[in-house]
């Protein structure tokens, strides 16, 4: 399978890339990892007239901590960089849990976190993780830069909030209000398959009490779903079993799964509740009694 014909540009600087987007508008498409875009072009679901390959743009492959437990992830930071990161373990438990579960090991060498957010596939892992963390996307254009919360960035199935002349140059996790904990769980039939269901939980606590919580769901609706009420139910708690059960119920209630070859809607909703309960129970275990 071949993509349709396109004009290929490989700018060496971000300014050049932005100029190309300003010139070509919605005819142009950014190529970063290409692990979703190239397959879509081969299937002719996407047929950009101009492909702007940013892989030669220096300075986008980073990920680094920011003061107060935040994180910046550049547009060319690959999944594998996050999987083998020395920065994430401990500091970003939800991201550390998700990184080895994205796609498969070979795809992870090319695909990027920021690209995954842009692709806005409801089955995408990073959108859930970043939504749970309260993260944002920084969009650059010749007109300047703006920061878009992930909840507003992912506007629908395969739809993001970028204007035609904008490049998503980095993703940002804000500083923590407390000690971070949390995880990401995904059910898939085999490695590399689309998620049957996935759950991201990001918690921040002070002296064992939850001061901020985010829960987001993968693959159980037309877009990534923020389980806001479920997360809110955790705030102020110490993750007692009745609170955990309540959050699991609330998260399952906002899931909008469809029955398909990966399972029935009821089953997927059940998986969501189970994953929420499993993550929260594990978080409580170290701080709770030995029982």
């Amino acid at each position: 399978m071949y993509p349709s014909r396109f004009r290929y540009e490989a700018p060496r600087t971000l300014d050049e890339a932005l100029a190309l987007l300003a010139e070509h508008g919605d005819e142009a498409k950014i190529l970063a990892g290409g692990q979703s875009l190239v397959p879509m072009m081969k299937l002719r679901f996407a047929a950009p007239g101009v492909l702007v390959d940013i892989n030669n743009v220096a300075g986008l492959g980073f990920h680094e901590e920011t003061p107060g437990g935040g994180l910046r992830v550049g547009a060319l930071c690959r999944h594998v960089d996050l999987e083998h990161s020395t920065v994430l373990p401990g500091a970003q438990p939800t991201m550390a849990a998700a990184a080895p579960l994205v796609a498969d090991p070979i795809v992870r060498t090319r695909g990027t976190l920021v690209g995954s957010l842009c692709h806005a596939d409801p089955q995408g892992d990073w959108a859930s993780v970043m939504l749970a963390l309260g993260g944002s996307v920084v969009a650059a254009s010749r007109r300047g830069r703006r920061t878009i919360p992930v909840g507003e960035f992912v506007v629908g199935t395969f739809q993001n909030a970028l204007e035609h002349d904008e490049i998503a140059v980095e993703a940002v996790v804000p500083a923590a209000q407390g000690v971070r904990s949390g995880s990401y769980l995904k059910l898939e039939r085999r490695v590399g398959d689309f998620a049957t269901a996935g759950v991201a939980v990001a918690l921040e606590s002070v002296s064992g009490e939850i001061v901020r919580a985010g829960i987001a769901l993968t693959g159980v609706g037309p877009a990534t779903i923020a389980a806001t009420e479920a997360a809110q139910a955790l705030v102020g708690s110490t993750l007692d079993p009745d609170v955990v059960d309540r959050a699991a119920e609330l998260a399952a209630a906002v899931a909008r799964p469809r029955t398909d070859h990966r399972g029935t809607a009821d089953y997927k909703r059940h998986v969501v509740a189970t994953f929420v309960r499993r993550i929260l129970t594990a978080e409580r275990a170290p701080a709770g009694a030995a029982a």
Partner: protein, 168 residues
């Protein structure tokens, strides 16, 4: 034009690229939409790189790109400009096989052989990163490569065989 002549479109813009393939510098004029897998197979006649699913799932087309395993059906040939690519033809030579190749032969890590080049390159990259992988690490490490014959048992053994040989 006679019926036997290939239809070649002459007005299609191409791009000159220079790629180091298996240690040798190769220059080619390619259409931007040419996939790396097809440059290797058709342009350079290196047919050891197999195209299986053509949809980024199976990993049969895995090659090393600057030492990192990639699915060559999911990269453009133009993206290899200025880079190094290793295919199965460059993994070892018939007289001096890579330990991974020896392991696959010794432990019978293949039946039909279609997934084998990609599997071996992924295994090579795995061992370069982790010279002493557990069975679990091998299974996860090769989980981007599908084999429809062996059930993976002998592939895992083959990679362990190579790890043990290299440890000696």
């Amino acid at each position: 034009m006679t019926a036997t002549e290939p239809v070649v479109e002459t007005d299609v813009p191409t791009r000159r690229i220079s790629v180091t393939v298996n240690g040798e510098r190769r220059v080619a004029d390619v259409e931007p939409r040419l996939l790396l897998a097809h440059l290797l197979r058709q342009g350079l006649a290196l047919t050891g790189t197999h195209v299986g699913c053509d949809t980024t799932n199976c990993g049969a087309c895995t090659v090393l790109y600057d030492g990192t395993p990639v699915k060559s059906c999911t990269m453009l040939a133009v993206q290899a400009d200025g880079h190094e690519v290793t295919t199965v033809e460059g993994l070892g030579t018939p007289s001096e096989l890579d330990p991974v190749q020896e392991g696959f032969a010794t432990e019978h890590g293949l039946q039909c052989g279609f997934c084998t080049p990609g599997m071996m390159l992924a295994a090579r990259a795995l061992l370069d990163r982790n010279p002493d992988p557990s069975e679990d690490e091998i299974r996860w490490g090769l989980s981007g490569n599908l084999c429809r014959c062996t059930g993976y048992q002998n592939i895992v053994k083959a990679v362990r065989w190579a790890a043990e040989k290299e440890a000696k």
